[in-house]
Symmetry: C2
Subunit: 215 residues, 2 copies
């Protein structure tokens, strides 16, 4: 019974990893579509979000099935409930990549990102990708050291967002309201994306150690 339970848990982790890989691909493509006004790439991210939703649904069904079949003890239940929350976070990360791609599509053939903001958006994209990479390692290896690192990476993301907003409201800034709103929303999507990665890392840290990560 316990062995089969752990096999089931591994299958759940495998589905989380599948979602993480799709999410990393989505955020990288979404960033590229924003920076290069690549409509085909934006469409791809928008379409592929359905795939993330499917794995999400599959994962949750497996967790409920496992709860029903194995009648796990409280500590295992806690891990299973965490798995449901983690898949919700991953699904939401997919949605946020999808929002970024929709922004690229909405402004096509123009660019949502004015030249003076290319570097900041590229940095937020790189940070998002790095955080997702690290989150994937945390999921796969229950790597608690990296789980703690992600919180610092998230601080870097928050700083990038503050820098972007400051540049928008600068009296010498672009002053175009539509562009400013696009950039403000884009930065919010990256920031929220990163928050969900932190939340996943914190959940895994808690399951692995029984303690809350100090932030």
């Amino acid at each position: 019974m316990r062995d089969s339970f752990h096999e089931d848990l591994e299958a759940i982790t495998a589905l989380q990893l599948k979602m993480a890989v799709l999410v990393k691909d989505a955020i990288e493509k979404a960033t590229a579509s924003l920076l290069t006004s690549d409509l085909a790439l934006a469409e791809k991210v928008i379409e592929e979000d359905a795939q993330i939703d499917l794995v999400h649904h599959d994962l949750d069904e497996r967790v409920i099935d496992l709860m029903a079949r194995q009648q796990p003890v409280a500590s295992d239940l806690r891990a299973l409930v965490s798995a449901i929350r983690i898949s919700a976070d991953l699904e939401r990360m997919g949605d946020l990549a999808h929002h970024l791609a929709k922004l690229a599509r909405m402004r096509y053939p123009g660019s949502a990102v004015p030249p003076e903001f290319t570097d900041l958006i590229a940095s937020m994209g790189t940070e998002a990708s790095r955080i997702t990479e690290k989150m994937t390692v945390v999921i796969e290896f229950r790597d608690t050291a990296r789980a703690l690192e992600i919180e610092k990476d998230d601080d870097a993301m928050d700083q990038l967002q503050r820098k972007l907003i400051a540049a928008l409201v600068d009296p010498n800034g672009p002053h175009n309201v539509e562009t400013s709103i696009d950039m403000a929303f884009a930065s919010r999507y990256y920031e929220r994306f990163s928050d969900h990665a932190v939340s996943i890392a914190q959940r895994i840290y808690y399951i692995a150690t029984g303690e809350f990560a100090k932030s």
Copy 2:
């Protein structure tokens, strides 16, 4: 066993209602603090968010405890997993009210809402309050008719947001970037707030009927 299970479920619904009442109070106070630049009220919303988080935590613990004690069958487990998702939605609604209050506090003693946007923000606030009221009835009475209505109310909220963004980017609009970003974010918070109420209504509809609500 089954009777005690249903008593436990009722206790969980009672905690959901407690969260819903706190969330409704939070969004109404947050809207008032934005519209009247009331710092004390904004601070109250910011402080009281911790209370919502506490009930959220209490609720999730009870659900896990119930799963462990009663070893429910698959259909009951589905309802319990839904309860965990619903409490996450409610907690996030509290966060969004908190974001609105922080916006009011950040611009104090000035106002985050310029006079020409007072009506739109007031309408979004009224809509958010109405949706939360309806969502509370859906939670309390498993009211599937009202669960379907909420989706239409959410369409009204989306329209208000589009109207607000259109007014911001209007060539005759305010053209102040900082104000525009404040208003864009505020509208986004209301819109997301409403999305979470829809998500709660849909989950309850599914649990009550076994079918997905058609949107």
